[in-house]
Amino acid sequence: MTTVTAGTSATPRPGRRPGRRTGRATAGRLRAAGLYMVSVLIGVAVWQLLAVTYGSALVASPSETLSAARELAGDGTLFNSVVASGRRILIGWGLGLAVGVPVGLLIGQIPLVRHLLDPYIEFFRFIPPVAFVTLAVVWLGIGESSKVVLIFYTSVFIVTLNTSAGVMAVNESKLRAAASLGANRRQILRCVVLPSTVPHIVTGARLAMGNSFLTIVSAEIVASQVGLGSLIWTSRNYGRIDWVFVGIITLGILGFVYDRVLRVAASRVLSRYGVKL
């Protein structure tokens, strides 16, 4: 028989001091964050080196970029650009999701729809949005719609493809089980197929989000007053490489934030559907 003295134990007991387990996890997370920071610092150092090597006409140094950012933030350009581009991406992506998911579900479920839409999907998805920029402006003008439509174009194919792939990957025994429990076709689609497809839809949404960011710069090439893409393009005319750097880096940060928000929201709200991001 051992005497139990507070605070010490010779052999590991099942209910260890609660701080220990979480302590180790926090230490792990801190370590990951630390490595992240170290990597970024190394990156910035390399950047500075390149700036010094090639001169400020070609590469804006970190400090130059920072002061350019302050300059653009000061007169509101940066903020307006972020809002303009951010909004276009959100709307275009949202529409891509709203159209892509139902179409993807139908394609996955109904062979007739799949066969009818296949030629168009397999053809258009290889044409990059930038090829449509001129047409978009000619058809829709230089306003918001042409840009949003291009973002929509790039999102909808990815979401549709991922959704339909998800539908076709639903485990057959789930479908059979639902049928033999009395579910009709529509109930199976709503209560079994759709929930099973959620992880695929989320993947499609994430990929579409990434692609939307890739497209925003092309979308804002022509006649766009405000936006991160237009900032990048028009800065060339002023010969301000540092503004270009600001635009690019802000775009990257914005994309990171959007993706992170999407991931957190999806895994919180949709965890029961098997979404783990």
Binding site: S173, S180, L181, G182, N184, Q187, V192, S196, V198
Partner: protein, 284 residues
Amino acid sequence: MTKTIATPRPPDGSVPGSGGTRGAALSATGVGIRFGSFEAVRDISLDIAAGEFLCLLGPSGCGKSTLLSAMAGFVPVCEGGLAVDGTPVGGPDPDLGMVFQSSEALFDWMTVRQNVAFGPRMRGQSRAARAELADTYLGLVGLRHCADRFPGQLSGGMRQRVQIARVLAGGPRVVLMDEPFGALDAQTRQVMQDEMGRIWKASGCTVVFVTHDIDEAILLADRIAVMTAGPAASVKAVYPVDLPRPRDPADPAAAELRRGLREDIGEEVRKSLRDQGLDLEETR
């Protein structure tokens, strides 16, 4: 052991209270199932009495799962007919419940309770009625305490119990089971087999149970239909199991039955392996 095709006996063991006359009779007449040029089963004729527990026993790949799928209405019959209480099987039906070998058939995004209430929900029953049904069948399989957990949080044996409860809550008259305990470890399987006997008695359903495990068949079945090796499998023989319940594996009559079945199946397995190219001695 003589291989006789015996006439169906009424099952042993009373069916008290719930669902005494629940079971339906299932009949197969000259059933043949083909997939393109591949003939899975040929000329299967079986008469399964209401409330009976019939085992389909046979080596792997002999078409017993295919036959079961046809009984459930998932696979169309190419020759002959399948009927439940006289009505031909036209497609999946709530009267024909199926417990799958893999618990992948469960809906992982729904709680255990929601899974079990799925059948009643599809039938349009009220929330209160669904809750009560779910509670009853969860109690029957002993999972009331896990009702609000998700299938992913349960062990293999528990997931199969959820499947059984889900199927029973759908109110079927025939329960088809496709090697439901095949993926479980030996100890869990033993416990589940005992549970199955108890559940069947309480529900009063007709059960068609596919297995390749002879001991399992002897433990559970009223009759055992031995299938030949595929392709074009058919019923080789039907053994009545005239042993008192609860089944005692140590009973010499059981041992005798086991020997006979082993011989029968062994023959089929060897034939099947030889067909697949394995070199075996001609006689054991």
